[in-house]
């Protein structure tokens, strides 16, 4: 099972960050970093807090064996080295100088315990699907952890960066019921130690005994600011130093801020419009093509997102392509000849005329309330679809209700959803395809499958890169012909920083998700 994707699902905003240098500036300051987050972490226990915002915070507290650097390469963290001894065995050697905040040394037992928690059904960890293929994880030495897998998993090395955040075993056992809550907090090895945690935010203070580079900040205060306009005000007023949550729909407004610099980087967050290929009216390919032709993606990216995104031509993200390996041809070459749907109302009308609904149809697309990053594009789409006689009505529903529809997998009709990659591999797209995912609690909301496609999906999971590339090329071709999904756009990750701050080194979508990041935010000299 390869469901290794963090579904952002338009819910968790701001996974992505931006690689950028420094700039920015706000107030003069003490050595506390004030950081705006869109919602409080649901828990400080990774098992119950697998979402963008929680992970941003937890990455400062708990450390995994390995991390992903801005370029998408694995780097050591708690593990000083690792090796793959065969197709299903991975051995990690721990550093010997790591201690928890209480001074006790990190042992392999702690790491094993932390990973076993995700495998324990009683814990009901949100990482459950990510550890499904592990046959065993054992401490094979004082400072050595060995994973044995049930089957070969090419991207397993990346997954370790996601789920191996280590909490002290004895602490976690002592607080089995309330680990990570606002009273118990947690016990980790990270550069910062949690001091308070509430619905209003989290405060962490410097871990003076940190094993690595001394932490930059005395303390970090994560303030919860759910509302985009409020966030703008808070940043404008200098009440917070920075955030990852710049809403692209109001990026023009943010660009007017004088004391703040906003940076945008490409991110593998893909938004698609799905159409249920198994039920009328969407089982008509001409209708789907008509829709695909009638959506002005260029304008959406340019107008709604102020240009801070990429028009999407395929469900496979070109920006992830390079992670397949150094020998892989570039995306454009590989995908040459895949059918593209340019914005052309005449073509749309022509397709519609060929369909079973030459006079057009009316349909409703629900989306989680308050999410302008899908709401606004839907409004633009509605306007151009109207030109060809198709009526799209966007409808806001509470987020939980919306996700209920998706998971229930019934009467799907047309849906809009965003999928974000949580490790650097273009295989993400498979989540939207195939029988395996055309069931409740999965994301093939177009119910798109065929024998040919199933074969290709199996090939795409091969360990051999060449086979994978070919399979993806075929998949992309089929997906383009049949358009179960209209690929819309990839949204940029953002970083806003006060003018007196800089971001040291490169900054990318990966860092706050798969690495510690706060120490890179530094006061400008």
């Amino acid at each position: 099972m390869y469901r290794r994707i963090l579904m952002v699902l338009v819910l968790g905003v701001g996974l992505g960050l931006t690689a950028c240098g420094s700039e920015g500036g706000a107030s003069s300051r003490d050595s506390t970093l004030r950081w705006a987050i869109s919602s409080a972490p649901r828990s400080l226990d990774t098992a119950h807090a697998f979402d963008g915002t929680s992970v941003n915070v937890i990455n400062e507290l708990l450390e995994p064996l390995v991390v992903v650097d801005p370029q998408g390469q694995l780097e050591p963290k708690l593990a000083s080295s690792w090796r793959q001894t065969d197709a299903v065995t991975y051995v990690y050697t721990l550093r010997d100088d790591v201690t928890f905040w209480d001074g006790s040394p990190l042992t392999a037992e702690d790491v094993v315990f932390s990973i076993e928690r995700h495998r324990d059904p009683a814990v009901a960890s949100e990482y459950g699907t990510y550890v499904k293929d592990i046959a065993s994880v054992t401490a094979t030495g004082e400072l050595e952890v060995t994973f044995t897998l049930k089957t070969a998993v090419p991207e397993f090395k990346y997954l370790v960066a996601l789920f191996s955040h280590t909490v002290k075993k004895s602490f976690a056992e002592e607080h089995a019921e309330d680990l990570g809550d606002s009273k118990t907090l947690t016990m980790g090895t990270g550069p910062y130690q949690a001091t308070t945690f509430s619905a209003d935010g989290v405060e962490v203070t410097r871990n003076d005994e940190y094993w690595g580079e001394p932490p930059t900040w005395e303390a970090i205060r994560f303030d919860v600011i759910p509302d985009a306009d409020t966030l703008h005000l808070a940043v404008d007023g200098g009440e917070v130093d920075g955030t990852f949550n710049v809403p692209l729909t109001s990026s023009r407004n943010w660009d007017t801020l004088s004391d703040t610099s906003v940076h945008y980087v490409d991110a593998p967050i893909s938004t698609v419009l799905s159409m249920d290929t198994t039920a009328p009216p969407w089982n008509d390919v001409h209708l789907r093509r008509a829709v695909a032709h009638a959506i002005d993606r260029e304008s959406i990216v340019a107008t709604v997102f102020g240009g801070h995104g990429r028009v999407s031509q395929s469900i496979i993200d070109p920006s992830l392509w390079s992670f397949l390996g150094p020998d892989v041809e570039d995306f454009e070459t590989t995908f040459d000849g895949v059918r593209a749907y340019e914005y052309d109302l005449d073509k749309a009308r022509a397709e519609l005329a060929q369909s079973a609904h030459p006079d057009g149809i009316s349909f409703t697309v629900t989306y989680p309330s308050g999410r302008a990053s899908v709401g606004k594009p839907l409004q633009v789409m509605a306007a151009s679809l109207k030109e060809v006689g198709i009526t799209l009505t966007p409808k806001e529903v509470p987020a939980s209700e919306w996700i209920g529809y998706i998971y229930a997998h019934q009467d799907l009709g047309a849906q809009i959803l965003a999928v974000a990659a949580d490790y650097p591999d273009p295989g993400v797209a498979r989540l939207l395809l195939g029988k395996e995912n055309a069931v409740p609690n999965a994301f093939n909301v177009a119910n798109f499958t065929s024998p040919e496609l199933e074969d290709l999906l199996a090939q795409e999971r091969s360990a051999d890169t060449g086979t994978r590339v070919d399979a993806m090329h075929q998949i992309a071709k089929i997906a383009a012909e049949e358009v179960p999904y209209v690929p819309l756009f990839f949204l940029d990750s953002t970083l806003a920083l006060g003018k007196d701050l800089r971001y040291a080194g490169d900054f990318s979508y990966w860092t706050p998700l798969l690495d510690e990041w706060a120490n890179r935010v530094q006061v400008r000299k």
Binding site: R42, D181, P398, N441
Partner: protein
């Protein structure tokens, strides 16, 4: 003794009303669309095990009646359950959110009372003058202007454009908090202030024309006594009733104003919980709000009792 009896009766009535409200709310939430499990699961795809665990933990397998009994029996033990959205204890959430809202409401009530009542009194006594006209026009605007529009305008005028007040945050410490919450408090206070002013004006107008006020002036009583013991005290009876009702405005206003100013109080909690269908929290907030209103009415009645000997006699014999 009679007072204790009366108070006991009223408190019992409040408890009974809360019970009825809780049943109503429980019923309403039960029939809300969207399965409770899904709300509890949040954004996570579920496995049969997690689903079973959740169903058991929240007694979802049982009937509505026994779910209610479960809820009630833990609620009376002050175990209010957990938010399904954040997993936090609801009692913890309330204790975090309540102080800000109470501060805001108290601040707004202070503004409303300190400005509204004297303004109404002045307008009533000086009826027909330019002062009266100005106050009347101002209160008319304030009473009809939606609090979220006013809040928005205040925020951008005084927070952003003029930068006199902070435009985000709740501040720490009394002074800093008051400083941060001034704009929200003003936005929240305007409508109740205007209502109080109008009510005070009307009753002052009436009282000032009554024989007993004229008789007091005819005896050469000092202005202080005539205005205080006669005009203000007699005007205060309907004003106290109004003040009790204004609490409803406060509660509604808080939701909107907190939303505009992003104040992390129970108003924003309400909106967040409603929009995420965090039913247990909505239910508890409904009860808290009902308790507020009932207490306000009780306070208003106690005010009447303290102010009006006729009522005192009616209650205490």
């Amino acid at each position: 003794m009679r007072l204790a009896l009366w108070l006991g009766g009223r408190l019992a009535g409040i408890a009974l009303t809360l019970l009825i409200v809780s049943i109503l709310v429980f019923g309403i939430l039960y029939v809300t669309p969207g399965s409770a499990e899904q709300v509890l699961l949040g954004t996570r795809p579920s496995s049969p095990e997690t689903l079973a665990a959740i169903r058991e933990r929240y007694h979802l397998d049982e009937s509505v009646g026994s779910q209610y009994v479960h809820w009630l029996s833990s609620a009376v033990r002050l175990d209010l359950g957990e938010s399904v959205r954040s997993g936090q204890d609801i009692s913890t959430m309330l204790s975090e959110r309540m102080p800000v809202t109470l501060f805001l409401a108290a601040y707004a009530a202070l503004i409303a009372g300190v400005v509204g009542i004297p303004a109404g009194l002045v307008a009533g006594i000086r009826s027909g003058t330019l002062t009266d006209r100005a106050i009347t026009v101002a209160t008319t605007i304030c009473v009809s202007a939606p609090s979220f529009v006013v809040g928005f305008l205040l925020l951008y005028a005084f927070g952003v454009a003029l930068d006199w007040f902070p435009n985000y945050g709740t501040g720490g410490g009394l002074v800093d908090r008051a400083w941060h919450l001034t704009l929200p408090a003003v936005a929240l206070a305007l409508a109740p202030m205007a209502i109080l002013a109008r009510q005070t004006r009307a009753s002052a107008l009436k009282v000032y024309h009554q024989d007993f006020t004229t008789f007091a002036r005819a005896r050469g009583l000092p202005r202080r006594v005539v205005l205080g013991r006669y005009a203000l005290r007699n005007s205060s009876l309907p004003v106290v009733t109004t003040a009790g009702l204004v609490v409803g405005y406060f509660l509604t206003g808080t939701v909107l104003v907190e939303q505009v100013f992003a104040v992390p109080g129970i108003g924003t909690l309400m909106i967040e919980s409603v929009s995420t269908k965090d039913v247990l929290v909505v239910q508890m907030l409904a009860l808290v709000i009902a308790l507020f209103m009932l207490s306000a009415n009780l306070l208003a009645d106690l005010g009447h009792l303290a102010l009006d000997p006729r009522v005192r006699k009616g209650v205490l014999g």
